[in-house]
């Protein structure tokens, strides 16, 4: 293989970083952690990742990838199929439409944007999930999950920005 080809493959693989991270986080969310009361309120890890990469590298996370990963999450965890896929798409769509706002903003502003967006996502999934299941899903776990997801954002965003710095700088 010529150097040009190796270069291309390398670039391609680095471009897959966001999708790979989300896939990994889907697994992290599906594994039993045996922590008291965690399972029903497992933070929405994929939501954090989709928000982060939609802001910082939207070119490396196409809608189709978000959809496929959301669908995979639904199939793996037993969530009503299509629910997570739809909510993740919605979040990415909103971020994409507000790109001008998010451009070059400090971390706190981005986190604040996330705290506004998570309740919207939670409410949407609660309404659609309840309609789908034909019964009102208890809202408390959803509220706790939303809060945990917001609190976890700085941690995961820190990890993502390190990864982005090391793997995707020249992409």
């Amino acid at each position: 293989m010529s150097a040009v080809w190796i270069q291309r493959v390398d670039t391609f693989l680095r471009g897959l970083t966001p999708a790979t991270l989300i896939l990994l986080l889907v697994f992290v969310g599906a594994v039993p952690w045996h922590l008291p009361g965690l399972a029903p309120v497992t933070p929405a890890f994929p939501l954090i990742a989709v928000y982060y990469w939609s802001i910082y590298r939207p070119d490396k996370l196409p809608f189709a990838a978000t959809f496929a990963l959301g669908l995979f999450h639904d199939l793996l965890t037993g969530t009503p199929i299509g629910l997570t896929a739809l909510v993740l798409l919605l979040v990415q769509g909103i971020v994409n439409s507000q790109r001008v706002f998010f451009h070059n903003k400090p971390f706190l502003v981005v986190w604040w944007g996330f705290t506004l967006l998570v309740p919207v996502a939670a409410l949407t999934s609660w309404v659609i999930g309840s309609i789908f299941l034909g019964a009102m899903v208890p809202p408390l776990p959803i509220i706790v999950q939303a809060a945990l997801t917001i609190l976890l954002y700085p941690v995961l965003a820190g990890v993502f920005s390190q990864i982005q710095f090391h793997f995707m700088q020249r992409l």
Binding site: V28, V31, P32, H34, A39, A64, G78, A135
Partner: protein, 284 residues
Amino acid sequence: MLAVPLRALLQRFAFGLLAATAITLMVLSRAEPELIERLRTGITDASAPILQFFSQPAASVASALDEIDAVMAVHEENAALRDRNARLLKWQAVAQQLAHENEVLQGMLNVVPDPRATFVTARVIGDSGGPFVRTALINAGAAHGARKGLAVINGEGLIGRIVEAGERSARILLLTDLNSRIPVVMEASRDRAILAGDNTPRPRLEFLAVDSRAGVGDRVVTSGEGGLFPPGLPVGIVSSVREDGVLVQPFVDWDRLEYVSVLDYTLPGVLPSTRRAERVGSLR
């Protein structure tokens, strides 16, 4: 490179198409559950080795924490266990005597024996990880004898039943799930009811007779009605009796589900086993 406006248009088109697909899938999974179920079992089968790999470190972290806890409490626990052991030895004597007596009496009455249940034990490799469903994935599937409809238990009591079985993985619907309905009976008063999950930790008893004398602390066990679950599996105890319903606290500790047993309880010769499972599946 495409022109920027054209790209934006394509993006919008993709978004609309994918969102519509997601909604279509939701509707389809209600209309054609079989199709989606096959998709699900395919995905969980393929992911089972990965989940198994990931769930091992998670389990060891949890058990390390337990270990620390256990060392801290070892003295008190020892005293409590000695005490309990003494009491259990007495109970053991009583139980042996009763078992013997029961056997003799059943022999005198020519009682038809209940079929013996066989079981496979499997590890929990995934949980629902979300607020909408209460399910768990185990690393046993059709290849190991786990079929749709079978009861799943552990040492503490009933956990739920299998709703999807792939080749090497299966999904358990926990008895706390919104969709779970299990025929139960109050152990002492023999009042029958349906234990209905509602995604909260404490499912409620439905269709309990109005004149039922159910009280807090009563044991609830499976009734065996429908022939799917063996009768007498411990489920939980009544935790509150109020105007709006009777709640049951299951015996199972949901945070520590590690190994579970899938019970194959089929009345031999009554019905072909697969038909039974299907029938129950369609009752859902």
